[in-house]
Symmetry: C2
Subunit: 459 residues, 2 copies
Amino acid sequence: MLFSSSPLLIDTLRQRRVKLSYLIDFPAILWSGRANSRNFPANIYPFRASSHFLYFAGFPLENAAIRLYEGRLELFMDNAPKDNALWQGETPQRDQIAELMGADAAYPLTELFNYLEDAATIVVQNPITANEQRQLLNCPLVSAKEPQGIDLELTQAVIHLRLTHDQFAINELRQAAEISVEAHKIGMKATKTAQLEAQVRAAMEGVIMSHNMTCSYNSIVTVHGEVLHNQQYHHPLQPGDLLLADVGAETPMGWAADITRTWPVSGTFSPTQRDIYHLVLKAHDTCIDSIKPGIEYQDIHRMAATVIAEGLVELGILKGTPEDLVEQDAHALFFPHGIGHLLGLDVHDMEDLGDLAGYEPGRVRSQRFGWCFLRLNRPLKPGMLVTIEPGFYQVPAILNNPKNRKKYKTVVNWKRLEQFADVRGIRIEDDVLVTEIEPEILTKNLPTSIAEIEALVQN
Amino acid sequence: MLFSSSPLLIDTLRQRRVKLSYLIDFPAILWSGRANSRNFPANIYPFRASSHFLYFAGFPLENAAIRLYEGRLELFMDNAPKDNALWQGETPQRDQIAELMGADAAYPLTELFNYLEDAATIVVQNPITANEQRQLLNCPLVSAKEPQGIDLELTQAVIHLRLTHDQFAINELRQAAEISVEAHKIGMKATKTAQLEAQVRAAMEGVIMSHNMTCSYNSIVTVHGEVLHNQQYHHPLQPGDLLLADVGAETPMGWAADITRTWPVSGTFSPTQRDIYHLVLKAHDTCIDSIKPGIEYQDIHRMAATVIAEGLVELGILKGTPEDLVEQDAHALFFPHGIGHLLGLDVHDMEDLGDLAGYEPGRVRSQRFGWCFLRLNRPLKPGMLVTIEPGFYQVPAILNNPKNRKKYKTVVNWKRLEQFADVRGIRIEDDVLVTEIEPEILTKNLPTSIAEIEALVQN
Ligand SMILES: [Mn+2]
Ligand SMILES: [Mn+2]
């Protein structure tokens, strides 16, 4: 990893912890976690520090902790053992790192034992570090989703801060978006000569890797876009297929992008693919145009559902009025997931906290078909970054479900639907920053129009 | 993942467990492990099943277990929940998988509770599954490196089997080698236009990814080859640099390759780089030529050390006779690591077991400088796959160490060494299968000669 600091970073980290000190009056200790071993201890998965740690510490330090109290930052980590230099080279020492992050003090990790009193924490993902957290703080700490007492207070304070992004974060998020845009363009260009999904994926992730970024999640690059979290890449590309690519980069400091585009393998959408693409794009554009402070994200979701229902009525696939159809959840037959989610240090930002971040206090997930997958349900505020990602899918598990066949017998024109068999899955996803004025689409340099996408694929 | 089976796979799995039944007379239960969560539960690192599980089960099933007893194979896993189909598509059911692997019976995971009696196991890497192993078997199970009682007996039996490879394994290992060779060739070709290490890395890993393989370890692609496990890729490529790339593929069933080449960024080795490259290559060739059944791997290591010492004497860097220098560990100033290791399902095969696999029973690691990093110390047998990877490095932590400066004051011509400042690190690594006759270099399609490497880079 690169340890590059700047006055802006140091100042940003200070502002974040000062803001935290306005919200809680007890110390917070945040652990970074450890690398996970893959098939043997020395063969590790690339280390990813806990996002809460990254937010206040900046650098992805392994097996470190920070203590935040009254605006002060104390770093706890061990220097690498001497014989490490042969294998890892000279790595920065604790005191150097402390200086780079603007810490007020720095101690070996064992010293943390003397700074635990009255401290709250958030449980990390790595089970070994999580166990250490439990032992050191001598409390159960079930999971980050169910914090209790001061841990819950800390969690709520961190959510409050991380819900809206400061300038430093926005700069990072823009960089992640920019490289992700480039990856998608290269993916489109690579499709012409590719025979397999895997080859397009390789081209796209290659762009991310060549900029020293990582993928912020496991890429989806598939001709079976109807499998929402498809992580297989072995299908051959056939001329009539649509390729759905959901690929995003993460900066070395952990800030994520999340983009989906869908393009025709042949370089030309079929008439039926154009029809469906247009309605998904209309939902996408309508939602983004509506993003402004104060609007409820669930209303944006409903808007997408309504536009999709409307489009499907126009195409003769659904029957009825869009509003009635949405009321019956008929849109969810084809658009079963939510319109998007928070984006930040995590691609589903703060999803380690369950719905504590995504849902306004007092709100809980709906049980309704479609609505149950809505990951964000809050009024939008300036500085929030959200994805907008409407889609249309023909999911066999949904459309062939006898209960759905019965319930939606009269509202779906199943015969007409058969004519759209070459549209298995389309999604269009962009990253949108809520501002006081116009929303800023961080991923706007990647086209969404059929003409521009076809041109990129044909190139 | 792909579930493709074949009569050869089913027969191979049966042979492996029948052989196991000749070695132990109690049941063995092997767990596959779980995916590790990265920054939130749904954002996981790509799942890698435990290698011991893969050896007997073939497929990388998540959160599954197999019970092996008297040549029988019983599979324990849960079918995916129904609503999983929306996110993951239709996945094969337990009974189908059982058939594909030739299992004798298949049960839900909870049934495992009734099959635990007298069973031995090997602790997996994933801490959550490891904890389940401990709870279910009601025993401490410290780590895979320190098995006790029947767990130790099982471990020794598995080592016995996995030390030499059957035909199915060799086919897989050849495929991993072939794609890794291709990755290195593309890496060499990509160097011409690359500005950063990261770009070469991306080109190389792109080849692996585009063949639906994964990296068997975190790639090393660096102009600072003297940092042995360098996993940073941010350095710019300068014309006078050597680029060291240690990159290997792993097949979907988990079989690994491990290749290192070192090439000049400019396409032409400098005279000093040629000199050192030649001596590393001579060590490489000498070692490979010596591989045959019965030879001690530590003698091959000593051979490499001697050839390197000899070459450094010829270049005027070391003073004395090669044998004396090796006796004093002077070679380790420049070749501090071991000549190689076992290769199979793990890139350092069975290193989860500590030295139980790498070291013949009764042998322990030397404390001596250089020798302490020898990972394999056994007589070779037909069917073993080992790496041969001599190197030359100028490691500041070693060469600037005052103790070494003093101890080796008279044997190193430090002034002469300064003339080789443009050689920070060179390693040449191939994967060599021990056979009754000639050793088979699985990675032989990747050239090692200066002329051929320069041609590939210049292309
Ligand atoms: Mn998304
Ligand atoms: Mn190796």
